[in-house]
Assembly symmetry: D2
């Protein structure tokens, strides 16, 4: 049984961590912080947790947090990087669900997040926590940068193609769609039900913060530069990401072995499900679950490979992947606490 | 570890049973039947179950079913009553999620379901499986009639008032609303997304099959006749029932003790949550979970008691309550397999 | 051709007024005000209006407004009452969509709206603009208080029963449900898609501001006191109100003539549609249209009359009714600009 | 005033035609046919039309139809082609909303629609009714093949690029998303609210019937072969299509003139709105309206042009475009009956 703390627990990733950890047999949540809601019982903010937690939000403090075996950050960007040096000095281990430690090029980070990075030392040491790529590094890590939601869905779908160098890396296209919970739990007019419901649109089509994160991951897999276009869209639903990926095969003859390649690549991955060729993964098939499901498609005799990849943005795209990383870090079975099937319908 | 069979597993209550039982530590689902889908893997129909079940649908047969420790019926009405005599003779224990054994007055049953009842013997012996009322009878039962979704939400909310005889029993009103999954998984135009989405309406307002079931339960609690008006409505969402109940206090002075009365009545119930006076239970607070949450209201100094009661129609209103009944019947902890918090958001 | 101004045009009732007036052949919108958005083109805020309006938001000023033939207020409560004396002195005619002039008892108004009323003179002179009740007074009015959304749906459904004194006026129950646009267009967490979507709940069940407005209207129809319980609920959709009304007949023999009574009462009303007995009006059947559709129900041989009444909260419940009032005030055909059928599906 | 007939009026395009034509000042709908619903009043099937039509569905017959000035077909594919020779011989003019006359290569048509084409003569003579491309041919046409929904959104967005030959025509990608009404009004399990709601998926990713139609239109604009990949997706909403289009500029310097090129191309088009560079068109901005709105995007200094294009699949993607074509054919103002702004929110 380990003790964990959660910094910034009032958002959707915070409540999702609490939901998952409520039934994790090896974990006790010993503190959850929120400056604005200090004193409020978490079950008063999130009625689904009534009967599961006695905990109240508290003001974050380094001493309490560093007494935990693990600290999750579920904060807006900029918070974790400021607390990290002190927390690391106090010996903590951290899974950061924010964007603070995801990018290795801190100039790029500063450009996209609009502020200088304040913890270059830990940005360098942080392990980018995509278990399907970096399981061993995660095991030993003190600081894991939990991947973004879109980057998780997009990278997993492109990985086998890029690792094997099968596609024209200069022409990758990722057309991705997310439910509204991905935008967080802030009182903004643009996120109202009256604005989001019964409508669909692209957003960030001229550039989104997840683009450099996606590119970094793809370039690492390809071991060279890649050119990727990434357009996110907002779906009138709460949870779920679907990414439709387009890549051009360098040798059209490779089409015959793609399905097998994908199945092999993820054969031992507990949370990646390569569906039969020509399937259409539905976001509801992963709702509330830590799975990524994907399937391959080809139109007529085209050289374009199409991959459709789905995750729950709050689970494999955030809190679930964070728990998966925690399981790896502490030597628990990787699926511990993440076994329940998705909620369908 | 017990073996269970599921008859009629292609509908929403069937997949919900499979979802819940997938993580129940004491249960193995050993067969699931469907005449129309025999041979199809359940994971091919329900992709959320990929990796959880190897099972395929099979044609129902009494021998296989009676070799199970428990059989769930998740069939349209009329099916269970026809199979029951033979199955009971073979020694089976059954939780029937259909309406076949819920009503004790078989003339009323025949009127509302449009066919004569074919198993009067077992209709008499069946235990109406609302654990908050009949826990001990359920423990010993061979055949449990699992309550309907609306009747569960409505009865639980009215029970404390009727058991204590505090209200005018001739003027009960239950205005109830349900998500579309309550109508089942049949290819009907009226249930299309294009018909149900972004719209709201009453249905069955001149009389709905759950009315006699509600009345039977309320009369048992009141130990006399009651007059109840029940109007269901269709919400443009998938899961969840909210029932707003109106009753007139016989003695207005009783208002002061109502909150306490409700809390006492359900103090030991693991799945009924009486929220603070004046709260507004949300259906999402029970999505995917076996809880019923309720709260009391009063307007100005009125003698009308208002109770708002929410459940997930597929869980406490169907498959979850069936598993709760199974837990009681087999001496498992009542909350076994039903511990996870609701999925919110 | 008349010139109209709109004060406070950034909310959902503001854009709805603009949408309706865009095709009204006798109206030109000559100014629309918003302090916070002054200078912004309305089509930049509301892309559905691109190509329909050249207008930009401006700072409200009495001189410009009083040069209009009619001014609509689509402001939060408290704004109209402060501007009204000066505007009336300048000779304006006004339809106020806010709550400022709906209640005649200003003590009640102050209690529910949390501030003293600042324009008692005009509160007294204002005509409550439910055309089905006060058409002639509206025709001559200088200031029309446009009814609230819930009060419109509830009053229209109860009116025939109360005007004829057929029901027990002490036991009226109105269980009403609304889409999220009724809560307005403000950046509040509780109104996010992530909070409202796929969930249903009662709110204001212990008392809602529309209760005294409903009671005032019903008492006027009944010419005596009434006891009414009103519980609103939030539907996970954008537009539409359904109210299910319950009343107890004083003489059960009257049931036979109710359908006829309702049809007669509204025979000449262009926007009230009494559907066949036992119908279930859908909110989508009035989406974007100024209609109220209603139907009667009875369960078994009960003495309870059930009325289901639907409107679009933004049209007959706000902007459409305001235009209907304008048409009456200026002698246009009452249906002018309001002829298009509802958007279904 | 012309008389029009509608063949196959029970689907969503049928009711949408009726909705639009109800307020068209130059049109009277004199007959609407449905074999299965003959005798039923249209207002009994579509309550939004109560008070607008006295019409009942009738059995289709050529004599009645050919007495109309124009006949709309809103039938499944295969119906119009069988009736066309006789109807044309009787002198009718037709706008066919089905797919029967959209493709010029009848071998391709037969492959995708699974039956031989039975009216090659009229397939050759039919005019593909995209007014932005073929206005003059439409004016003179006796038979107009109304474009598909996806093909309308996709072609309009690509047209300026292909007409000018600015992009690599071998690498076009159209990632398109549609609300559920696009799948029609048939009682299929896959279209239930319980299946479609709160989920998102690709479908037809290995090949969809609209692919050859899109390619035919793009090749006509490019005057040579094109290679296009088209993946449709299902959005959990009712109306609206968004297509995100990706094309690679042949000369990166052309980026600077693209916005101007698009604006010029559509300057005189009443229903195509080129929004400012970098905008994000929302489907709700065209809900119920005949507009196509589009905007251009570029990421960093990429040579990929991104176009986001939105329409209402039932309006500009079906019934609205059909009425636009009718207006052109009969010399009415092209916007007649199509002037109302979209319904937002």
């Amino acid at each position: 049984m380990i003790k964990v703390g959660i910094v910034g627990g009032t958002g959707y990733t915070g409540v999702e961590l609490l939901r998952i950890l409520a039934v994790h047999p090896d974990v006790e949540v010993s503190c959850i912080t929120s400056r604005s809601e200090a004193g409020l019982a978490v079950a008063d903010m999130y009625p689904n947790l009534r009967g599961h937690y006695d905990l109240a939000f508290s003001v974050p403090d380094v001493e309490t947090l560093s007494s935990c075996d693990l600290v999750f950050f579920a904060t807006p960007h900029g918070v974790a990087m400021r607390m990290m040096p002190e927390l690391m000095a106090a010996g903590a281990r951290v899974v950061d669900l924010s964007a603070d430690f995801r990018l290795k090029d801190l100039k790029v980070w500063a450009d996209w997040y609009g502020m200088p990075h304040e913890s270059p030392e830990w940005a360098e040491k942080a392990v980018y926590g995509l278990p399907e790529v970096a399981r061993e590094e995660i095991r030993a890590a003190r600081l894991v940068a939990n991947p973004g939601c879109y980057p998780t869905a997009v990278q997993l779908g492109f990985l086998p193609l890029l690792e094997q160098g099968l596609v024209d890396s200069s022409r990758l296209i990722a057309d991705a769609k997310s439910g509204a919970s991905g935008a967080g739990r802030q009182g903004k007019v643009a996120l109202l039900h009256g604005e989001v419901g019964e409508s669909f649109k692209a957003y960030g089509a001229s550039g989104h913060r997840h683009l450099p994160e996606i590119r970094q991951g793809l370039e690492q897999a390809f071991r060279s530069n890649v050119g990727v276009t990434f357009v996110p869209h907002l779906i009138p639903m709460i949870r779920g990401i679907e990414a439709t990926l387009y890549a051009e095969l360098r040798d059209i003859a490779d089409f015959d072995r793609l399905q097998n390649l994908f199945e092999e690549r993820f054969r031992d991955e507990p949370f990646v499900d390569v569906m039969p060729f020509g399937s259409h993964p539905e976001t509801r098939s992963v709702r509330g679950a830590n799975n990524c499901r994907m399937a391959l498609h080809r139109q007529e005799n085209s050289k374009i490979v199409i991959v459709s990849s789905v995750i729950d943005n709050l689970v494999k795209g955030a809190a679930g992947q964070a728990v998966q990383n925690m399981n790896i870090m502490f030597g628990f079975a990787e699926t511990r606490g993440l076994e329940a099937p998705a909620l369908l319908p």
